[in-house]
Subunit: 223 residues, 2 copies
DNA sequence: CCAATTCTATAGCGGGCGCTACGCAAAGTG
DNA sequence: CACTTTGCGTAGCGCCCGCTATAGAATTGG
């Protein structure tokens, strides 16, 4: 039935236009990117935009969804492929340093920065919920790691997850403020030094200092 | 000469109005706070605002300056009063957790969040420069601490300063995303665990896991 | 008192915002 | 071909933006 459309075919590629809208929103944020900016970036006129994507807010939601599945997918890959919580979050932070400073697209993270100072509550809330969902997944992974014995029993999974989230968000803003890839990678390495040492109990009452595994990463280097 | 004005006296308190403008900009950011929002918050009409403060941008600059000397002064106090680099930056992060979640004013840090996604380049740049100046002062303090022997000789002052800045900026956004004071204090404590341990060399050739001093803070707790 | 000075209030300027009505262009269907 | 369906382009809607012209109100100096 939908093998072929009835009327005049669309004169632009919808996915390409979506990608160009992504770049615009990524660079300037939701509110600051006007529909006029979007039509210019996408190479189409306003009625075409509205016909293909609904209104500005709906377009942004589609942009965010596509972003999460492409540029923002490194976190999910790290979680899927790394066996330990430390390995997953360390890789997430290190890859974020690369993505946030990749010269082929705007700096930082769209989900972190695009709805800051946004006067449309639904948009602000949608991205906030995504961030808090990510935080919850960090926590779940850390808790699972602790229960599996990778991390000391007293580890506060919620606090450690929030710490990683704060570093990630800080790295995004630092990237937008001009930090280099190397500088952000160093930040990621330092952040991983805050993780509980294998075999070192986290509570002050000092117990069960058994060996555990070795450090996964060398971590502290000069320069 | 200026003991008394010649004409009709101002009918509002300039400092009070400035404070109310600060709250508005702090909550919604530079761009999102309209002049109409400002006049409502300050309780004056537009011509009075322009006569007393110049234009919107000049008012914002005055707001930022006042903010830096009041709500944002905790960093300078920590630097002035704490004898060591670790003490200064640890206190800065801990006090930031309190300020960022103080219920008597908007959450987070105005200098960090108010010019994100701002289409006025001068405003965005002014706050970015302030942040980068703060980062440079972190680095100078850490470098001085390393030269004084507080920290291992190989310590990368720039990277450690940037790490602290990233945590601070991340804490600001987390506060705006709803994190509690207690949660942010835990983030600050964890961040301080990444600092080089006294007596432990920073270079990575994997040795010397000797005891070192006890941790400065217990850090990870349950709940 | 009157004149000069300074602040306040109303009302509105030009312009950009998100969005859309409308008529034409380009395709499929008989 | 005529007819329907759908996308495109122009042009412009109502609204809010930052900002200000103008006139009246409140004060000091003479």
């Amino acid at each position: 039935m939908t093998t072929r459309q009835r009327g005049r075919p669309r004169s632009f590629d919808r996915l390409t236009a979506l990608e160009q809208a992504t770049m615009a929103f990524w660079e300037h944020g939701y509110e600051t990117t006007s529909v006029s900016d979007l039509t210019r970036a996408m190479g189409i006129s306003a009625p075409s935009l509205y016909a293909a994507f609904g209104d500005k807010r709906t377009l942004f939601e589609e942009v965010v969804e596509a972003y999460a599945g492409s540029y923002g997918a490194y976190g999910g890959r790290a979680f899927a492929e790394e066996p330990t919580a430390r390995g997953a979050l360390g890789r997430l932070l290190r890859e974020a340093a690369d993505v946030f400073t990749d010269p082929s697209h705007p700096r930082g993270c769209l989900m972190i920065s695009a709805a800051v100072n946004c006067s449309t509550p639904e948009v602000e809330e949608a991205l906030r919920e995504r961030r808090n969902r990510n935080l919850a997944s960090f926590e779940a992974r850390i808790r699972a790691g602790a229960e599996a014995g990778e991390l000391p029993a007293g580890t506060d999974a919620g606090a450690l997850a929030r710490f990683c989230g704060a570093v990630l968000q800080g790295m995004s803003q630092q990237a937008r403020d001009g930090a280099t890839r190397t500088e952000l990678e160093a930040v990621a390495e330092i952040a991983m030094l805050a993780w509980p040492q294998a075999g070192v109990p986290v509570a002050a009452t000092g117990k069960a200092p058994e060996a555990g595994k070795a450090r996964e990463t060398p971590a502290g280097r000069g320069a």
